[in-house]
Amino acid sequence: MAVSVAQRLSATGTGNALELRGVSRLFGALAALTDITMTVRPGERRAVLGSNGAGKTTLFNCITGDFLPSSGTIRLFGEDVTHFPVHERIRRGLRRTYQISLLFGGLSVLDNIYLACRGVSRGRFSLIRPRRNDALMHSAENLMEAVHLTEARDTKVGELSYGQQRQLEIALALAGAPRFILFDEPAAGLSPTERRELIEILVNLPSHMGYIIIEHDMDVALRVAESVTMMHNGAIFKEGRPEEIEEDPEVQELYLGGGHG
């Protein structure tokens, strides 16, 4: 996917890619997120770690706008998007994938990716069918090739294998010109080979494309991220470089301790 110089400059220019200030989210009396303050630079790749219920996915839902935060502000590339609906944030370059694939089971692979490309461009309401030389259809086909799904072009997504559905899940987040992507456990349930392919895709993303990845597999997380945020009970527990986090005694006790030994 060609990215123009202007797009690179605008992405890496002023402001942080993502800035959360005092973001909290309550579900009734339950505090799913408490006072999250974090800053992600443009192009930065960060892993979010934490046990189940640490609030990682809730954090994603607040950033994309699926939930509005109970308090706090969210800035995307310097713009306050706290009260923006989901689609407005997406049109500003934010993308996300889901822990459990959310795909369009009744449509073909190409149609799924085409919709993703169409969603962030004009003509969403067009009643005119795309022509064969349609530019968006071309970028959809290129993207389909990039995630190795060309063979499944006309297959209905409901009939794809689990691994293929995970690949498609990622393809949908790469459509258009993403500036910042949230990956929610993209490696969950993948075979070792598929994991290697996934790591390759992530590592080879254009350098201006920052992301946050939620990942339980430390080996994957540490290979694809340059900074790590540890979450615990809805709050940020520790932030730092991967090596620091891995060696931190508190972190080891909390997270790596039992399962990793």
Binding site: P85, L103, D111, Y114, L115, F125, E151
Partner: protein
């Protein structure tokens, strides 16, 4: 065609199997033979059928099919079961009577057809869009309840309002105009008029289903949350779907008032609103041809059930029972209506599906 670049196609020397989506939509060779047969029969039908069959069976079926088609568009592609489609058609019908000519000349304005028709369609589309805007934030059973409530409210309003809607008796003598020297209420011209608009509506729905708008609607049906996460304004899309469906329902409503020559609250009561749902479900809501199949079954039952019951020595007014049993039987055997039954039969016969072009065994291979 970039056949040479595609290794799959290049490998199969000789017969190049082109996926259905690669041919342009207007390519005539894409149309299956069955469609040609049905099309030709429909066009030459007046040559060998009575006026009764043309007008009361096919005219009525095509009109009900169009109104049910507008529901199929919303339910099949958008996942929104709307019970307000008959009411939208009824609004268009009432507007034809109010702004055009009828026997109630104290109310009817008497404007010419070429101004009345656009007004009727636009008002019906506004009505359908507002109904949709109220309904789209709900899902499933709540959409059905809200649209049913709107339908019931309009029925009671039309029945009780005498200033504009002439209350219980409604309007009669609402007739199509004489244009180009043709009396469009005469059976043969009216048949061709309804056939033309029904075919146009059918093709429009088929065409739009593969447009960005139609694909997005199907995406919203499958997964509204993900559609928002791809940059689509889900609410706006759903409302726009109601607007599009309202246009089809409105055209159906105008033809309906011309067919009956009258419009009264009974035509927009809860019964007919549910009949449209029954027609769409019995026919099948997966493909735009379904509503027309459902409509012709419904009309035939409505027309002949009475005679059959009487000949069997039963009370004629129990024809609703026959329709109900037919509905139950079809839904029981196939949740996809007659279309679903047909598709399963095709699969068993091991042929290619005429609607999607998929090999019939594909689901077997997948599982």
């Amino acid at each position: 065609m970039a056949v040479a670049e595609n290794p799959d196609n290049a490998a199969s020397a000789g017969i190049v199997s082109v996926p259905a989506t690669d041919l342009p939509w207007w390519d005539i060779s894409r149309i299956p033979a069955a469609y040609w047969v049905v099309g030709v029969i429909l066009v030459i039908l007046p040559a060998f059928s009575s006026n009764f069959v043309l007008f009361q069976i096919f005219g009525w079926s095509l009109i009900l099919g169009m109104i049910a088609l507008s529901l199929m568009f919303l339910a099949g592609y958008g996942g929104m079961v709307s019970l307000v489609q008959m009411t939208v058609a009824g609004v268009a019908a009432y507007m034809m009577a109010i702004f055009g000519t009828s026997a109630i000349d104290t109310i009817s304005v008497g404007w010419s057809w070429w101004i009345t028709i656009p007004i009727a369609i636009i008002i019906a589309m506004i009505f359908g869009t507002v109904s949709g805007a109220l309904a789209v934030r709900t899902e499933g059973i709540y959409t059905i309840m809200i649209t049913l409530a709107i339908a019931a409210a309009f029925f009671y309003f039309a029945r009780q309002n005498y200033v504009l809607f002439n209350g219980f008796s409604g309007f009669n003598q609402v007739l199509p105009p004489h244009v180009f020297g043709v009396d469009w209420r005469a059976p043969v011209p009216f048949y061709y008029l309804t056939l033309f608009w029904a075919a146009l509506a059918y093709l429009a729905v088929l065409y739009v289903s593969r447009s960005p708008f139609g694909l997005a609607l199907q995406g919203i049906r499958d997964n509204p949350r993900r559609m928002a996460a791809l940059g689509f304004n889900v609410t706006a899309h759903r409302v726009a779907a109601y607007t599009f469906a309202s246009f089809i329902a409105a055209v159906g409503g105008i033809l309906l008032v011309w067919l009956n020559g009258q419009i009264s609250p009974g035509a927009v009561s809860v019964g007919p609103a549910i009949d449209i749902l029954v027609i769409a479900v019995v026919g099948g809501i997966r493909h735009p041809v379904g509503p027309f199949i459902g409509a012709i079954i419904y009309v035939i039952l409505r027309t002949f059930a009475l005679d059959i019951l009487v000949s069997l020595g039963l009370a004629g007014e129990r024809f609703q029972l026959l329709i109900g049993i037919g509905f139950l039987a079809i839904v029981f055997w196939s949740s996809d209506g007659v279309l679903g039954l047909w598709e399963r039969w095709r699969q068993r016969a091991g042929r290619r599906d005429p609607l999607t072009g998929e090999a019939a065994g594909s689901s077997g291979e997948g599982g």
